[in-house]
Amino acid sequence: MNKVRNNHAWWLILPMLLLVAFSAIIPLMTVVNYSVQDVFDPYTRFFTGTEWFQVMLNDPALQAALLRQFAFSLTILAIEVPLGIGIALIMPKQGWQASAVLILVTLPLLIPWNVVGSIWQIFTRGDIGLMGWGLRELGYGYNITRSPADAWATIVLMDVWHWTPLIALLCYSGLRAIPEAYYQAARIDRASKWAVFRFIQLPKLTNVLVIGILLRFMHSFMIYAEPFVLTGGGPGSSTTFLSQSLTTMAIGQQDLGPSAAFSLIYFLIILLVSWVFYTAIMHRQKDPTTQGER
């Protein structure tokens, strides 16, 4: 317990607070204001109270989008986290190979979202796309504009391709930070590879994995551009996720009140899930350096 006596350094975060106030808190307040009114312009608005929230919570299309969203986020986490750890474990540790592999692994992360969507849109086309054409030649009637299962599999595959490198990089840095003494002790004990992974590497990776899982969850929960470009939410509404429903409502139909109510519900869900994730993992390992969270 080393108590900090002089707390004046806290004033240094004041500029950051101001910045956040303008970029996040004031817009959020405005959204709250919109969610309880029917606004036509600043002078023509009607107080609606909780009506929008009631409508949004009971909208079957949005409920379906929410379930779809959870299914998507959990699927990609279940694939990306083990895969990312696996890739990090087999990446070379030193020499030019390490640099080369690092760059190759990082490449997908550098591509903007809508470009990723376009790449996969072309990649999966039946006439000119390598994957679409190849699967078709192999005898499978692959078509993302007709079959919801194909569309789903493709979006999951696209997300895994785009974002597994993030988990792999985080884990790679976490693995590099483990002191050699742990491995020496393991060798003296003749620990198996699995035991080394289970009792040395995995526990040491917990912190980076928390960050990785949180980032990936929030990111995938808000996914927009990639499915929008690839499938446009179709076929039907089988790949319409929450943010796309929201955009259709707010930009397409200009229903600002309902979309504001919907965004707040969306925000609360993300806040709850992220908090539960964070607290569960942080409290399980009770590391004194990670206490003092909010």
Binding site: I26, M29, T30, V32, N33, Y34, V36, Q37, V39, P42, R45, F47, G49, T50, F53, Q54, M56, L57, N58, I265, L268, L271, L272, W275, T279, H283, Q291, E293, R294
Partner: protein
């Protein structure tokens, strides 16, 4: 400010939150919080309990507004009681 389309209820809401945060800051300066174990499954500080209380209050309101045929004031009352219980025994 007119672009923010303020209403009285939302203004009251945000003033209350701001007052809570200010109050918690003052309380923290007067007597710093100690992490402790209550009925919650995790050790919490005062700020943690306030956060949990506010977040669960939001969900209580959503459930009442969306799915129950009772007034939102019941949700508010329940949230206040829950917040007090949480702050004291949580």
């Amino acid at each position: 400010m007119s672009w923010m389309v303020w209403t009285v209820p939302t203004a009251v809401f945000f003033s209350t939150i701001a007052a809570m945060l200010a109050g918690m800051t003052a309380w923290e300066i007067v007597s710093p919080t100690v992490e402790r174990n209550g009925f919650l499954p995790i050790a919490t500080t005062r700020g943690d309990r306030l956060f949990i209380g506010l977040l669960s209050a939001a969900y209580i309101h959503l459930i009442v507004v969306g799915f129950l045929p009772i007034s939102i004031w019941f949700a508010l009352g329940l949230s206040i009681v829950w917040m007090l219980v949480l702050m004291h025994w949580g």
